[in-house]
Subunit: 732 residues, 2 copies
C-alpha cells in the first residue's frame, strides 16, 4: 500500500502531486452507483418535509451510516417556527365560478405520486387570512412590474394579485404585493418556462403537468434566513424567541401557489389593459392585467407551531491540526419526496463520506478535521444550517476554513460558484474529474460550453485554457449562513444544465425517484462525478500543508465588480437625465396611444457624483498583493516547499481569516444579519447575488449616503484583506 | 384670392413660404372624412381581387371621379399571368386524421364576412401538385432555420414542411423549402404574433381569430416583380411572353396558407426533437420538429390563365414644365375586401386628387405634371405598377422626378421611407401636419416616439430636433419598379404603429369596412393626415422652382451603410475564425447533450480581405459635395433666389437624374431587373431592404469576387452622383 507511505510524508508538508493523485484514485474507487441508487430509492420512499416521520427516519439512517463508516456522527435538534398548512381555499367567484383543485393527482408510472401523506401545495410562512377581491395580473410581481402597472393606472390596493413564477426569489412576490397594498397573493407556474412550452409534460416527458404546483417558502430570505423567531442565535429548545408578530421575515397577507391548470380560469377572467408582450405566458389566452372583472376568494390557515429540525453532524478529527475544520453539507429535507431536490446531491455527499471512511480504514487520516452535515429544514428557509451555524458561531469563527455545499444534482455540466479565493482550487479539481458522457474532464466540457455559448451569442470567445470564472453566491441554499453571516469561504458545487434533464417538477409531488431515474440522472453517473469533484476538493483542503487558496481570481473579480459600479452609477445618472429630457418634452404622452393611455414614469432626482477613489485604489492594491502572494505560492508548490509546523499554523490562520476580513459586524442596511461586504443575496433578487452589495444596492435604490458610506466600508475591508495577504506572503 | 396672385409669382421661382403655406391650407380645407368614409364603404362592399367584377367597377369609379375633379384620367389595361385557386385539400392522414377546414366563417357584426364570392384562402403562384409526406416544422422557414434542422440531422427532402408566418417575405418560405427538397409547403399564422397572444381576437378584439388565414402571393419577388411572363416589358395584349415553365418567379411545389386552428392538429402530430426556444409559438402544445409521425396529404390546383389589370392613370399637365412628372400611386386591388390593405390609403390618394382638382378650379395650376395612379394587381406581385412602369419605361426615364407611394393607413405615427435625397422634404412636411390625436405635428410625435423607444431600450437618445432618418425601401409595394428598376427617387408615406389599431386580419376575409372603422382608423382622421402629408409633398415637388432635394442626409446614410459593410466583413471574418477554433477543439460535441445530439456547424472557408478603399473614398467625396450643395441651396432659398427658366431646367434635369446615376444597367447578380446599387429587397428578406446590396449580399453569401466587383461598381455610382451634384451646385 504504497500510497499510505507517500501520504505519511506528504501530509506533513505541501501535498505532492503523486500522492494527491493516488489518494484521489483510491477515493474514486470507493464510489459506486449502486449505493446512490439504494439511498435515493430508500430516502425518497416517503414524504420528507420538516416534521415528517420519514425526515426523522432519514436523519437516523444517515447518522447510523456515517457511524458505520467510522465517523463521529450525531443528530443535533433545533426547534424552529415552521408553519404547515391546515386549510386553504381558492375560488373564482365572479364573473364566472371556478374552484381551484389545489391538488397534484397520481400519475401512472410514478410510484410515490399516489401517496397522500405529503405536504399539500402551499407557501410556507404565508399569512393566515380570508380575503376576497378583484384580481390583478402582475407578471413576475417584481418592482419593475409594479412600475408598469402604475403607468397603466392600475393599483393593487385592496386587491388580490396573481403572479407567475420565474424571475427571482418567490418570497419577494408576496412581500412586494403586500408592500403595494394587496390583500392576497397567488403565484402560479406558467407553462412558458415551466410546462408544455419547454417540453412534453410528465409522464410523457419530464416537464410540469397542468395540475402540478411549485410549493415553496415565502420567508423573507434576503433579510435573514433561519428560524424567524431566533435571528442570529441557535433555535435551541430554550432559546429566547421573538413573538411571531415581531418576526421580520414573516408575511402578513395570505398567499398560495397554484398550478397553471388552476391559473388559467383565473387569468381568463381578467380584462382591462392587455399585458405587455414580455408579460405574456404560454397559456392559450390573451393575458390581461385587470383589475377584475375576475374576483377571487382566498383563504389560508396554517399550523404555526414549532417543529423539530434534525441536523446530522458527522466529524473526523484532524490528525495534525484538528482546529482547522473543513465543512461540507447538503440538505436532506424535501417538499415532498425530493429526489432531485435534495436527495441525489445528499447521496453524493454520503458517497464521499463512505469513501473517506474506507480511506481511513486503509490507514489514511486527514490533517484537518472534516465536518459533514446533513441539513434539515433547508426548504422552508435554510433552517437547519442557519440554526447550527448560529449556535456554533463562536467555534466556527475560530475553526472553520471552508464550507462546501451542494444541493441539486442532474446530468450536465459542473457548476462552480462561491468565494473567489477558491476558484483556482475548484478549477484544478474540475480538470481531474472525467465527464461520464463525453470522456473529457468536467472542466474541459464546461470550457467547451462557455465557448459555444459565446459563439452562439456572437460574443468575444473566452480563453479556452484559462480557469472558468465562478459566479458569486447569493442565497437559496445552505452556504448562506457560513459565507454571508460568518464570513467562511464557501463553495457550491453542482451538476446541471441540460434541458433534457433539468425540467420540470421542482418542489412538486413528482420530484420522485421514478422521475429522477428517467430524466434527472438515470445512471447516477453525475452523482458519482459530484462525489468525485467535491471529494477531491475536500481531500485537498484537508491535507494541504498550506491551504490551497489563491487570490488573483478574487482580485480580478473584485476589480470587475468595481468597474460595474462605476458603469451602474454612470448609467443611472444618464438615465435620470434622459428621463428628465423626455418628461420636459411630454414625449411619453405623445408616444402613447390615447386609446390605451400610459402615464409617464415618475420624475427622478438627479444622481449626485459618487467618489469611488478609495475603492478604486483598494482594488488596485489588492490586485498587486494577490499577484505577489500567488507567485510566491506557485514557487513554493513547484519547489515542493516545507514549512515548520508553527509557521504553517500562523500562515494557515491568516489564510483562514481572509474571508472574514471582508465582513462588517454592522452588516448591510436593514438586514444586519448579512455581514459580507462582497457577496449578498439581492434584496430584490433573493437567490441571485448582488456583489459589493452595500454600494450596489444603495445606487440601485438611490440611497446616496449609504452608497458613499459603503464605498468607504468596502474599501476598508479590501484593505484589511490586502494587509493580511501581505502578512501571509511573508510567511511563505 | 390672394394666394393665387402670390402663386403666380412664386411658382416661377423658389416657393416662398407664405404662398406655400396658403396653398397647403387651401388644400387641407378640401379634405373631409365623409368622402373617405363613403369611398371606403363603397369600394370594400364586394371582393376586389384581380379579375373580380368589383375590381373593374372600382377602376371605373376611380376614373370617373378623377375626371369629375378635372383630371385627364383613363384606364390602362394589362394582361398578366395570375393564378386563382380551383381546388385544394389539406389533411392529416397519420397518426390521426384531420381534414383542414380552409375556410373563414362569417363573423357577427362584420357585414361582408358572410359573402362567399371572395378569394378562398390560398397562395398565388404556388405550384400545382398532389403530394403526401411526413411533416417537418421549420419555424419561419428561413435559411438559418434549415441550418438548425441540419444540426439536428433533420432533412426535408421528400417531406412537407410547415412554417409559421412572421420573419420575411412569405414567398421565401416555399422557395427555400423547394430548394431544400421539400415536396410541399404549409404556412400558418401562429397566434404568438398574429392572434390571441397579442390581443383579443375578432370580433371581441381586432386580432386574428382561430380560423382566419393570411392569403398571399409566393411569387419570387426579390428576383423581379410584375407579370412572371413579361420581365422587363409591359404585359400588353400582344407582348411577347415566356412559357410558364420558363418563368423564374413561379414556384414548382404546391403550397398552402392555413389558420392556426387548422395548424394546431398538424403541429400536435409531430414528435422528434423539441423545437428550440425561439421557434416556439403560442399554441398550447410542445412544438416538435418531426419529421412525422404526422403525415399529410396536400393538393393544390390553380387556374393559370391571364387576367386583366385595370390601372387608372390620371394626369394634370404641368403649366410650365410639363415634361417633369411627379408620380403618386396607391394600389386598389385587395385579397378580399381590403379595407386597410389598400382602400383606406387609396381613399387618401383620392382625397388629394379631389383637393387638387378644387385648387385647379380656383385657378391654381401646378408647374410640373402630376400623374396619379390607382394600381391593380399589387397583391399578387406589384403587377399593375410594374407593367405600367415597364411599358412606359423610356418616357419615365426622361420625365419622372419622384414617385410617392402609400399602401396601408392606420391610426398612429407617420412612417417615412425612401430615397434619402427626399428625407429633408419629407421631414419638413411632417412638421406642418397636425397629428389628429395629440395636437402636435406628426413629425414631433414621431420624434417623441423615437425618444421613448430609445429610452426604453436604454439606448443613446437621438436628437430631439434633427430630422428623423428614413428607412430604406425594399419591396412589397408599388414603389419597387420606379425606384429599383427605373432609378426614380421614391418615397413611401404611411401611418401606423399603434398595437390597438395595427392588428390583426391582414389578407383575410375580415379586412373589412366594419373592422376598419372599429379598429383601424375609426374617424378617418389618419386618412386625412395621410392626404395632407402626401398632398403637401406633391404640391411642393410640383411647384418648387428648384426641386426640393437635399443630399446631406443621403451622404450621411451612405456613410453609415459603408461602415456597416466594414463591420459585417469584420464580424464575418471573426465568426469564421471562431468557428474554426471551436471545431478544432470539438467544442460543439462537448457542449451538447448526448441524449439530444446536435451536429457541429459546417466548417467555413476563411474570409479574404476586402478592399473597401474606393468605396470609403467615394463616400467621403459624396459627403463633401452634398454639404456644399445643401449649403448653396439653403442660401438660395433664404435669399428667395431666382433662376432663369433655362438655368432652372438644366439644374432640375441634373437633380432629376441623380437617383438614376445610382443604377447599373447590368443589375444585381442573378436578378438583373434590380438596377439600383444602393437599395434592393434582400434576396433572403424580400420586403426588407438590403442597402449597398451588391456588396452586402455578396459578403453575406460569401461570394467574394462579387463583393470586390460591387465595391467598385457602387463606388463608381457614388462618384457619378457626386459629379452630377457638383454640376448642379454650379448652376445654383
Amino acid at each position: 500500500m504504497a500510497f499510505l507511505a507517500m501520504c505519511a510524508l506528504a501530509c506533513a508538508t505541501a501535498f505532492p502531486a503523486g500522492s494527491e493523485a493516488t489518494i484521489e484514485q483510491r477515493f474514486d474507487a470507493e464510489l459506486n452507483v449502486a449505493d446512490l441508487n439504494t439511498w435515493l430509492k430508500d430516502m425518497t420512499a416517503e414524504p420528507n418535509h420538516v416534521g415528517s416521520p420519514h425526515d426523522k427516519a432519514n436523519a437516523e439512517l444517515v447518522r447510523d451510516q456515517f457511524r458505520q463508516w467510522g465517523w463521529d456522527a450525531r443528530i443535533e435538534v433545533f426547534y424552529a417556527l415552521y408553519p404547515t398548512l391546515k386549510h386553504h381555499t381558492l375560488e373564482l367567484i365572479a364573473p364566472t365560478k371556478y374552484v381551484a383543485a389545489l391538488e397534484e393527482p397520481a400519475i401512472a408510472g410514478d410510484a410515490t405520486s399516489a401517496r397522500t401523506d405529503g405536504l399539500a401545495p402551499y407557501l410556507a410562512y404565508a399569512g393566515d387570512g380570508d380575503v376576497t377581491g378583484d384580481l390583478v395580473y402582475v407578471n413576475y410581481g417584481m418592482q419593475e412590474d409594479y412600475n408598469e402597472l402604475a403607468r397603466r393606472g392600475v393599483d393593487v390596493r385592496g386587491r388580490i394579485v396573481i403572479a407567475r413564477y420565474g424571475s427571482n426569489w418567490r418570497g419577494l412576490i408576496p412581500r412586494l404585493a403586500q408592500s403595494h397594498g394587496a390583500i392576497g397573493c397567488i403565484i402560479y407556474s406558467d407553462p412558458q418556462r415551466d410546462g408544455y412550452a419547454v417540453g412534453e409534460v410528465y409522464p410523457k416527458g419530464s416537464w410540469r403537468p397542468a395540475q402540478s404546483v411549485q410549493r415553496g417558502s415565502v420567508i423573507d430570505l434576503p433579510i435573514y434566513p433561519g428560524d424567524p423567531l431566533t435571528p442570529g442565535i441557535g433555535a435551541t429548545k430554550n432559546a429566547k424567541r421573538l413573538a411571531v408578530a415581531d418576526a421580520k421575515t414573516i408575511l402578513k397577507i395570505p398567499a398560495i401557489a397554484i398550478s397553471y391548470g388552476d391559473a388559467e380560469p383565473l387569468l381568463a377572467a381578467l380584462e382591462g389593459p392587455v399585458a405587455p408582450a414580455t408579460w405574456r405566458g404560454a397559456l392559450p389566452i390573451t393575458y390581461h392585467i385587470g383589475p377584475g372583472p375576475g374576483k377571487v376568494h382566498l383563504e389560508v390557515t396554517s399550523d404555526w407551531s414549532l417543529k423539530p429540525l434534525y441536523d446530522v453532524i458527522a466529524k473526523i478529527r484532524g490528525g495534525e491540526v484538528p482546529d482547522e475544520w473543513i465543512l461540507r453539507g447538503n440538505h436532506r429535507d424535501a417538499w415532498v419526496f425530493g429526489a432531485v431536490d435534495p436527495l441525489a446531491g445528499h447521496g453524493a455527499m454520503m458517497a464521499e463520506a463512505k469513501a473517506i471512511g474506507a480511506l481511513m480504514k486503509a490507514g489514511w487520516h486527514p490533517r484537518r478535521t472534516l465536518v459533514y452535515a446533513s441539513w434539515d429544514g433547508e426548504e422552508p428557509g435554510l433552517l437547519g444550517s442557519t440554526e447550527w451555524a448560529e449556535a456554533h458561531a463562536e467555534e466556527l469563527r475560530r475553526k472553520a476554513v471552508v464550507y462546501v455545499n451542494s444541493d441539486v444534482i442532474l446530468r450536465g455540466f459542473v457548476s462552480l460558484s462561491g468565494s473567489h479565493s477558491l476558484q483556482a482550487l475548484a478549477n484544478d479539481v474540475s480538470r481531474t474529474v472525467k465527464d461520464p458522457e463525453t470522456g473529457v474532464s468536467v472542466g474541459e466540457r464546461l470550457r467547451a460550453k462557455r465557448l459555444v455559448d459565446a459563439y452562439n451569442k456572437s460574443a468575444k470567445l473566452p480563453s479556452a485554457e484559462a480557469d472558468v470564472p465562478m459566479e458569486a453566491l447569493g442565497s437559496g441554499s445552505d452556504f448562506a449562513p457560513f459565507l454571508l453571516h460568518l464570513g467562511i469561504a464557501s463553495l457550491n458545487v453542482e451538476y446541471a444544465g441540460l434541458l433534457q434533464s433539468d425540467g420540470g417538477v421542482s418542489h412538486s409531488n413528482y420530484d420522485s425517484y421514478d422521475h429522477y431515474v428517467r430524466f434527472g440522472d438515470p445512471t447516477h453517473a453525475y452523482g458519482i462525478a459530484e462525489a468525485q469533484t467535491v471529494g477531491h476538493i475536500v481531500l485537498r483542503l484537508a491535507d494541504a500543508s498550506v491551504l490551497p487558496l489563491q487570490f488573483g481570481p478574487f482580485a480580478a473579480t473584485v476589480q470587475g465588480y468595481v468597474t460595474e459600479l462605476h458603469e451602474l452609477a454612470d448609467r443611472r445618472a444618464r438615465a435620470t437625465e434622459d428621463l428628465t429630457r423626455l418628461l420636459d418634452r411630454d414625449a411619453f404622452r405623445l408616444a402613447t396611444d390615447p386609446l390605451q393611455p400610459m402615464l409617464a414614469p415618475e420624475r427622478e432626482a438627479p444622481v449626485p457624483a459618487l467618489d469611488f477613489a478609495v475603492l478604486d485604489e483598494a482594488s488596485v492594491r489588492l490586485k498587486q498583493s494577490a499577484r505577489e502572494y500567488d507567485d510566491r505560492y506557485a514557487r513554493f508548490i513547484a519547489a515542493d516547499g516545507k514549512l515548520s509546523a508553527t509557521r504553517a499554523k500562523r500562515l494557515n490562520d491568516l489564510l483562514r481569516g481572509m474571508e472574514r476580513s471582508l465582513t462588517s459586524e454592522r452588516g448591510l442596511p436593514g438586514r444586519e444579519w448579512h455581514k459580507h461586504l462582497i457577496y449578498a443575496p439581492g434584496l430584490y433578487t433573493g437567490y441571485v447575488a448582488k456583489t459589493l452589495p452595500g454600494v450596489r444596492e444603495a445606487i440601485e435604490q438611490t440611497r446616496w449616503d449609504d452608497a458613499n458610506r459603503f464605498i468607504v466600508l468596502t474599501a476598508e475591508a479590501l484593505e484589511r484583506y490586502t494587509q493580511r495577504l501581505r502578512e501571509a506572503r511573508e510567511l511563505l
